[in-house]
Subunit: 344 residues, 2 copies
DNA sequence: TATAGACATGTAATCGATTACATTTATCAT
DNA sequence: ATGATAAATGTAATCGATTACATGTCTATA
């Protein structure tokens, strides 16, 4: 922090006014005469004054900061979302604090502790894996109106959230494969118990049913969104007697892991097997073959979550805590090279 | 922030001691009798007290937070580095504030403003693009001992920094290609004026000279670390009369962009052209073909930068501001499939 | 037994900005 | 000209934790 700090008092002296006036020049400039206001600003400039946030926060009982909880900062999927948020918060002088829920899992610290310890005004949670117990803690402390979920959310709660239209994405993917001529379509899911896994799987199953496509248990393969799980799924698929001709993956990373291993085993994509991903991360366009996938507008997700949170924590919130309807961001099918008509 | 806040006074009352004692229990527990200490902690637990950071920060003139400046949050390259930092800072109760230098460029706000406005104890800068002017601002305000650079750094300054051994990485790459039998080796650089670009290019040129390999101007292609620049470079290479048989790319992303476009144009990697990257991001292992590259230990870079910064901003710093020697993290050649002996 | 020193704890000033309330000044209607 | 009202600014309490200094207690030594 600054060392030779210029205090509001110094500015006041310089401008020949009281500290109250200086403070008002900053927060309610319209209360002052034009001349006073200008004198004060001149003094602020000449002294190089900057408000001491700690003092202001103490007095106003605000923090001027929000916490973003990321399940795994190492996952590039989140970077665009963070970028979107950072853009919004940057505009409103709100600091963005980032914490990785993975880091604190071992420490036994609850999320609510994170919230309280870092003393922030609100929180955006990208991790839908919060337990009911954790959430209870929040509502116990009257904090549930300071949380917004983004991307993921917690099943069966009605906290405000921003999310992609996951089910629709899944339907679009299956539909696309169907139109290409595929009938035997497999799906590599996300981790069990994850809301996204559920939404995408159900969307996929619903569309498969609607199109009256063949059903086979082993065609629904459990994954966890990771590259590695794509590789494992590939091994299973290769070993199948009755192989699917197309695979819809719950994430682009899974698709990469899948394609990489299929290719290492002499199976060509899309000639032998078609692959569709979910997310449309930057790399998808540059993979070989370029990945056909469902685009999530991650930047918009970040921006909207930020905006929503700001509305929630405003002095007189526009958004009531009881709001139920999530903000849904539309998804889009991006057709590239990894899905093509089946061989036969 | 909390609403029905429990103050230190409440804890003191509950424990039957003074606020000073409660404060000491938190910051200097060894000053207290075991019994008092326990009484106080019991009271803290029973009241659910948490220190008000704003008040503490005001009084101690500290911020308990550090700022991390990222040139582009959207770039997945940074996520592992952030994860490493976040891990370290999490251990020491320091909040991590993240700002994207890209966001504020238009606003004309200087980095130093960011620093002062967010009132943090120190800053880790991942952006070596700071102008001399910006840096001057920091030293003018006596803040140069609160900055640590990571990955990138500013040429000709001696601020503490943590970086990979970029030149060695470049040498390893060229050497590997040489051993495979390549002689005509091209290089796609990073953006001009970037320190990494420079270090890697010079390392590459030095090794090429040492091995007495042929030199051709057009084999040094300007890029900017991005996927797109890899694509553009590929187009140039395809158009060359005298094509290199191998390309060393300044980043993995460039390598992906390159391979994707080569492949789209019927050139096979590694059969027709070998490719080596730099970074070893997670995906490299799963690309088709798996990318031979230079691994930067990004997690370690993050951790070390965090540690270094904490040493710098400690009350009695271990690290003097005049320290010159950067902390260098070793790199490693990771051999995969994208580089093989040349065809002829 | 007296006294110094070590140790434990308490009292109260302090960090710097905000803001309720008080005061002063200007404006207007009567 | 006078009192009422509005507008501009000042005074001082306040937010909650820390810590220098003061006080009190106990042990050890002469």
């Amino acid at each position: 922090m600054a060392q030779k700090s210029v205090r509001i008092r110094d500015v006041a002296k310089e401008a020949g006014v009281s500290t109250a006036t200086v403070s008002r020049a900053l927060s309610n400039p319209e209360l002052l005469t034009e001349t006073t206001r200008e004198t004060v600003f001149a003094a602020i400039r000449s002294t190089g004054y900057r408000v001491n946030k700690a003092a202001r926060n103490l007095r106003t009982r605000q923090a001027g900061a929000v916490l973003v909880l990321v399940p795994n900062l190492g996952n590039p999927f989140f970077s665009q979302i963070l970028a979107g948020m950072s853009e919004c918060f940057g505009d409103s002088d709100t600091s963005v604090l980032i914490a990785d829920t993975k880091d604190q899992a071992p420490s036994g610290k609850l999320i609510v502790d994170y919230f309280l310890d870092s003393q922030v005004d609100g929180m955006i949670c990208l991790d839908g894996g919060l337990s009911g117990h954790e959430l209870q803690q929040f509502s116990d402390k009257g904090l549930s109106n300071r949380i917004v979920f983004a991307c993921e959310w917690v099943h069966d709660t009605c906290l405000p959230s921003v999310r992609s239209d996951n089910a629709r994405g899944a339907r679009l993917a299956v539909q696309h494969l169907f139109e290409l001529g595929h009938r035997k379509i497999a799906h590599i899911t996300g981790p069990q118990e994850n809301v996204l896994t559920h939404a995408r799987r159900e969307g996929m199953l619903a569309e498969r049913a609607r199109l009256e496509l063949p059903v086979k248990d082993e065609w629904i393969i459990r994954g966890d969104f990771s590259l590695e799980s794509g590789r494992r799924a590939a091994e299973k698929i290769i070993a199948m007697e009755d192989r699917p001709t197309a695979v819809f993956c719950a994430s682009d990373q899974v698709a990469f892991g899948l394609m990489s291993t299929l290719s290492a085993n002499g199976l060509r994509v899309p000639e032998d097997i078609s692959v569709v991903g979910f997310d449309d991360i930057e790399l998808s366009e540059y993979y070989v073959p370029a990945l056909t996938t469902i685009r999530q507008d991650r930047h918009a997700l970040g921006r909207k979550a930020a905006t929503l949170l700001m509305e929630c924590i405003e002095p007189e919130p526009v958004v009531s805590a009881e709001r139920v309807a999530p903000v849904v961001v539309d998804v889009e099918l991006v057709v590239r090279q990894s899905a093509a008509p089946p061989a036969n």
